[in-house]
Amino acid sequence: MTSISEQLSDALGIMIMGMGLVFTFLSILIVGIGIVAKLFPAPVADIPAPQAPSNTAVATHLDPKLVAAITSAIHQYRAK
């Protein structure tokens, strides 16, 4: 019985230490991710952002005429 209670206290020690280490490790990682995020902010978000609207703007400008042209072409082709 004494050996089991010893084992139990050992296991308790490993539990506390293990959870402590897991939390410490992952907390440091959180800090690390934060630093990397500051150093290398997502430029991807900035560059396509202005591009994307201009693209869609061009696309919408062209759309009605293009669509009309294409649909009429299709109609003509199908009518043959």
Binding site: L8, G18, M19, L21, V22, F25, L26, L29, I33
Partner: protein, 376 residues
Amino acid sequence: MEGLMAFWSETGIANFTGGQLLMMGVGCLLLFLAIAKGFEPLLLLPIGFGAILANIPNAGFTDEGGLLYYAYHVGIETGIFPLLIFMGVGALTDFGALIANPKTLLLGAAAQFGIFATLLGAIGLNLVPGFEFSMQDAAAIAIIGGADGPTAIFLASKLAPELLGAIAVAAYSYMALVPLIQPPIMKLLTTKAEREIKMEQLREVSKKEKIIFPLMVLGMTILFLPAATPLVGMFCLGNLMRESGVVDRLSKTAQNELINIVTIFLGLAVGSKLSAEQFLRIETLGILVLGAVAFSIGTATGVLMAKLMCKLSGGKVNPLIGAAGVSAVPMAARVVNKVGLESNNQNFLLMHAMGPNVAGVLGSAVAAGVLLAVLG
């Protein structure tokens, strides 16, 4: 006539023992679960078949020189198979959701409590007559709570090889049962209002961040926990191959062909450990029970941690995502998504749950490293 007698004495019918038949039944049950129920078929099918092969009398699959003997000896005793799988998992994992919301790492950490609580439980089980788990055995059983097959097999092969079959089967069975085990616990610990919380959309993550991430994880493991570097190192290698974008061929191989080939042999080798004399013991029953407990506690502590984060953040975190902290990628995240949708059919939590989900993989690898460092 003598020839016929000699032939008869070599047949399976003449040599079957009750235990072998029973274990073939277990193998067939695993095949049934894999084929008819779709439970982790990629692993349970080869494991089930391996169990059948390992219990054929006079076939010698698991004797020295047999196929399964070598598959086990080369792949699992050395720890190579689970590590190769881990590399593939690394190549399959997108850490974007985690990098975008790094606080979810805490959920992955909290869910590891299931592992350490079960360590205590396994030692406590020694009070019941018939159980004699050493600290190493207890640690290998507890890692089932990490809900990560390769990690469980790796740790069991290092700490308690004789329990490996039961541990692997328990780990994969419970991973398959995630959709049944987790939702009741999640619902018990959260209110409907909490389950309906919508989370902010995740920010964009730059390519550089994604490339630096595996290197940073590796660096930290080298500094603080070298015992975990086999697992974390292979995982990071796979992830770096994926994110660097310059070795697409290697990355594709790691996440397809290689992981598939290794899975076949890993399954067979694990199945070979399901021989009657190793599996039909009272310990196996204890392992199955402890595994379920480990899993449930991990889910519960993950959800409780998420509730705490919800309170601290002023209700910006949906507590359900904590349940995904017990790795089991991507099943646990899908379960979170499903339970979230049940409360509010416009609330898609999948991406938010992927953060704690992959954090759980890291968390259980770190926990395995701690156990290896202390008990290995």
